[in-house]
């Protein structure tokens, strides 16, 4: 608190002294922070440093699976050249999933906030209900839904649309991966948008109509900008985990051509002997890439309400 006050009043004359802090209990906030700081140190900062160290290890040429401590930046060069398509797919699939989730979530959140009335609670439960089942199980269920003999393929076939799908099928294609990602992260898009719309004063939206904006213009100039904090939070909560996801590509994609960075990290870590440093370098690269994108995105569209 006092630190903030000093920052705010930077260069203020000495006569405007801040009121003296009551002494004695000033250690209390730090004590309350301690468990959280310890937790972060042990379970986040230390493993992160360890991961970074591993990403620079070198392996003994003749003994696969044995490493020595090193500063070997070549791991990063390999990660980014050998697996560039996977990075590209991660960004593309996550981007598509974020876009489709937004298109599906906004009308749903809007209906829940303004039109649902007594159904609002039930709609909320329906949005959250999937969380009561395992993420893996739900994704496996989608295999059945999107299978060659499944209902989606059947409907598309009868609409003569199935031939537009890659290889004339849905399952084991990028379409299935994007569909799975969209489905799995939809609630993370719905809930923040709903929260920001629900908080909006309906009179402000009425004021748009009162000031000569028709329904669409009011939405474009009032409702949507007011819900931007929720839209930004929702896109971040969808894009970030979707970009690092490997379950959807593993269960719904094919063995070649739809793998994402997460799949490579997983296989380098668990399946390839001596893959640890590459897996670590891939993880670090992905993290840096996402951080950079989020930073640019929030700088471009972010509002002070978000942070």
């Amino acid at each position: 608190m006092s630190a903030l006050a000093h920052m705010g009043g930077g260069g203020a004359p000495a006569t405007a002294m801040p009121p003296k802090e009551p002494s004695g209990r000033s250690w209390l906030p730090y004590l309350l922070l301690l468990p959280g700081v310890l937790w972060l140190l042990v379970f986040f900062i230390y493993p992160l440093a360890q991961l970074f160290a591993v990403s620079l290890y070198s392996d003994y040429p003749d003994y696969p699976g044995y490493y020595y401590q090193d500063v070997n930046w070549h791991n990063y060069v390999r990660a980014l050249t050998d697996f560039l398509p996977h990075f590209g797919r991660s960004m593309l699939y996550a981007g598509l999933a974020t876009f489709f989730a937004f298109v599906l979530a906004y009308p749903l959140a809007y209906a829940m906030a303004f039109k649902a009335g007594k159904w609002r609670g039930i709609m909320m439960i329906l949005v959250i209900a999937p969380f009561f089942t395992s993420f893996i199980l739900r994704t496996i269920a989608w295999r059945q839904i999107l299978a060659d003999e499944g209902p989606v393929a059947w409907v598309l076939e009868h609409l003569h649309l199935l031939s537009f799908m890659p290889n004339g099928r849905i399952t084991e294609t990028w379409v299935a991966v994007v569909a799975g990602l969209t489905y799995n992260f939809l609630p993370f898009m719905v809930l923040p948008i709903y929260a920001s719309l629900e908080r909006a004063d309906p009179r402000v939206i009425e004021a748009g109509g009162d000031l000569y904006a028709n329904g669409f213009t009011t939405f474009r100039t009032v409702t949507l900008p007011m819900s931007m904090p929720g839209v930004i939070a929702g896109t971040l909560l969808t894009f970030i985990p979707a970009a690092g996801d490997y379950v959807n590509a593993e269960l719904l994609g094919s063995d070649t051509g739809t793998k994402m960075v997460g799949n490579v990290i997983e296989s380098q870590f668990f399946k390839v002997l001596g893959g640890y440093p590459i897996a670590a370098a891939l993880s670090f690269s992905l993290m840096a890439l996402i951080l950079a994108m989020v930073f640019l995105y929030v700088r471009r569209y972010g509002t002070e309400e978000l942070l």
Partner: protein, 387 residues
Amino acid sequence: MARNGRSVSGFREAKGDLRLENVTKAFADFTAVDDLSLVVPRGSFFALLGPSGCGKTTTLRMVAGLDQPTAGRILVGETDLTGSRPYERPVNTVFQSYALFPHLTIRDNVAFGPKRRGEANAASLAEDALALVQMTHLGGRKPAQLSGGQQQRVAVARALVNRPEVLLLDEPLGALDLKLRRQMQVELKRIQTEVGLTFIHVTHDQEEAMTMADTVAVMNRGRIEQMGPPVQMYDLPKTAFVANFVGQSNLGQGHITGRDADFLIADVQGSTVRIPARRSSVESGAVTFGVRPEKVSVKRTRPEGTGNDVRGTVLDVSFIGVATQYLVRLPSGTVWSAYEQNLDLEPMDLRPGDEVWLTWNPGHAFGVGPDPDAVQAAEAAKVGAGE
């Protein structure tokens, strides 16, 4: 100020008086506005006064187009606006909670309306409107950075900038503290005189309605009880509800027993009182007798006179500064109040329990239709205030 440039699709130019013809708004379980008809002359300051739930805000929202009437018509001049959308009407609203756009600067908030109407000089119109409410210096801020009073001014500017035929104000001063409210009342009145637009002001504060409006309409249960200039509303209420809601009244339930020239004679709880015949809404039968507290004098001894007096016991004395308020319990159990201006060099020094006589000039008395509920409410308001 003429509207230059193109007009937005559907916008209806309309000039003239605002007319509501037999407007009804029924919801599933109650009727908020019940067959309401009124005319608000162009350029006047009109107040809709009433307790919460009386239908005044619903009436306002129907004029704005935010609600549609179940029956009846709303017209400006000869143009029927019934059924049209809010953005098609030459009407703007100052909302109760101001409803400023939180993501826009003050300047952009005010320019919003002109921009939507396709005004080429929206920015300079906005500057003029901000100058009118003395907010030019804060044009670059966001609404959240402004105080309630400042937001209120911006809300007025944002509506006024469009020069609507009718400006609606929905309890715009409700959230302000007393001092600021008084200041804004004067300010709004000044602005209205300056721009000459029709203002419709919805409020539950009778003092606010009286100080600002040319015409006050008192609403109760979806209907207009009485409408007229403030002075007339106060001097001669037509119903017990109005007598009670616009200022305070001493009311008594009674019945008319005869007539003496220009006066009606009535028996009110054992006392004989006189009511000028032209100041009574009823001519015979049951009547609610009323007289305003400041018209009633408190005396230690029975004054010589016409018999317009009643005996009672002082219940409470409160010194207000410019006046002293006495609450007096009459033998019938009714509590009356009387205001005495503190003009005497030696104060009367009355205490609770003292026997006094209340007296008044019969010319000030009025008679309204019987309404036991209102009489009881008047009583409750006084006793509540006195204790």
